[in-house]
Amino acid sequence: MENYLSLFTEYNIPAAFWVNIQLTFWAAIGAMVLGTILAMMRISPVRSFVTFGAGYVNIIRNTPLTIILLFGVLALYNQLGFTLAADFNQNFFNLAVMGLAIYHAAFVCEAIRSGVNTVPVGQAEAARAIGLSFLPAAREVILPQALRGSIVPLGNVLIALIKNSTVAAVSSVAIEASSVMKTMLEFRGDMIIPIFATFAVGFVIIIIPVGLLTTWLSKKLAVAR
């Protein structure tokens, strides 16, 4: 037991998780904004928007996240000198947030589109009948209902994002859960299973409430039909 507790004094495990939570928080906002825009593009009357939205989703969601994150660092930063913060380490954090947001935006877009499909056609027809054009109709009538219908899939994207934040290690974010666990496993060979269990349970503790919350929200906000 004492041996196990020494893991916590030797390594700052909560700090590692905190990095993942921060990555998730900012990336979730970015993915939500970008994903909503993409979803609007995909249902819009403008042909180039539709094509772009579809192309974006098909390319991004079929690419391993690792490669997207690697590009952020290797191409944007190391070659083009593109930075997102003056501070050296903050820059990698921000690049990771950007990569995670770009990747998950594709899934947010699909989640919202699946939500749009739960809105009955009559709603759109009614919106058009009272004279709303595309943007107002989408903003005032369709999206509010669609978002409620897509709470569960959006919650699933958030859960995936929390887990995928561990891949940020490849974009040079040093202190996050997967890299700290890797170091610990290598230096504390006597405690392999307790170390993994600690990190695994940490993620379960973070993720289970998110799942419960989305289920509750989707029931509470469900549009009665």
Binding site: V46, P64, Q79, V119, N156, N164
Partner: protein
């Protein structure tokens, strides 16, 4: 709901406006691409030689194809084991014995919550420390086991919701002809649920293929590993990553199309009944159902 309800067929004025937006949009994208490409060219990253070496037989025969083969091996075995795991625990989730149901729920929820990367890193070290498999095979098995545990749990959920979505009469008919609950599950319900979840299952392939790419982090000699290895001696890391990404996109795109096709085929097959599509919450985020499931 079809999107076209949202707007009228554009008239001449709207058409002009759309054309303008189209042009501006295209210019924006082309401009952004130009910025990136010219920036990379300025750093010498667009030199033909960096690209040419990736399209030699040496690059493919000795690096990329062996890597791709390993990726497909791990992903292929991963899906077989996932389906087996998913069937066992899916039946567990539907079991009549409460303890069994609880145990399966805990296992499935646990492995759906733990990041695959953590599992891969853990199993690599565990397998190679305990010597259960040969040291040099440890990365391969670590990837396969992690893929099985995560995706198997997803499949278990698919099985559960697939069975739940079957018409009640199926089970009642089974009981009526004298089958026990478990027999009805095994002989009548699960086979139907399996067919219904085929599209989602193929979609899960995409997840497995993408996740197998994490294997390079622990030295599993998969596609990305070999692409990077080739690049490390040829100074063309970015180019190699782009080629790797393109291959992944092509394979996964083909799989998505296959899933869409199967999905369409299955829904046209049961004209009178609502196809037993798995409920939305069973589809994990990475496996966004192909097609838009139009009502």
């Amino acid at each position: 709901m079809s999107a076209s309800v949202l707007f009228d067929t554009p008239g001449p004025k709207a058409k002009q406006r759309i054309l303008l937006i189209n042009i501006i949009g295209t210019l924006l994208i082309v401009g952004l691409l130009y910025l990136v490409i010219s920036g990379l060219a300025a750093k010498g990253q667009m030199d033909g030689s960096l690209w040419a070496s990736l399209f030699t037989s040496n690059a493919w025969v000795n690096f990329l194809l062996p890597g791709l083969l390993n990726t497909l091996k791990a992903a292929g075995l991963g899906i077989v084991l996932s389906v087996a795991f998913g069937l066992i625990f899916g039946m567990g989730l539907l079991a009549e014995i409460k303890a069994l149901r609880w145990f399966s729920t805990v296992v499935v929820e646990f492995f759906r919550a733990v990041p695959v990367l953590l599992m891969i890193v853990f199993f690599n070290i565990l397998l190679s420390r305990t010597g259960v498999v040969d040291g040099t095979d440890a990365p391969y098995w670590a990837v396969v086991i992690s893929l099985m545990l995560y995706n198997g749990s997803v499949v278990a959920e698919l099985v559960r919701s697939g069975v739940r979505n079957l018409p009640k009469g199926q089970r009642e008919a089974g009981i009526a002809i004298g089958l026990t609950g478990t027999q009805s599950l095994r002989l009548i319900e699960i086979p139907q649920a399996l067919v219904a979840m085929l599209p989602a299952l193929i979609g899960q392939f995409v997840v497995i293929l993408k996740d197998s790419a994490l294997g390079y982090i622990i030295g599993f000699t998969e596609f990305l590993f070999y692409a990077r290895t080739f690049a490390s001696a040829n100074g063309n890391m970015l180019q190699a990553l782009l080629v790797a990404a393109a291959v992944f996109i092509l394979i996964n795109f083909a799989l998505s199309k296959l899933a869409e096709f199967v999905s369409r085929r299955l829904s046209s097959r049961m004209p009178n009944e609502k196809p037993a599509a798995p409920e939305a919450d069973a589809l994990l985020p990475l496996a966004v159902p192909p097609g838009d499931g139009t009502k």
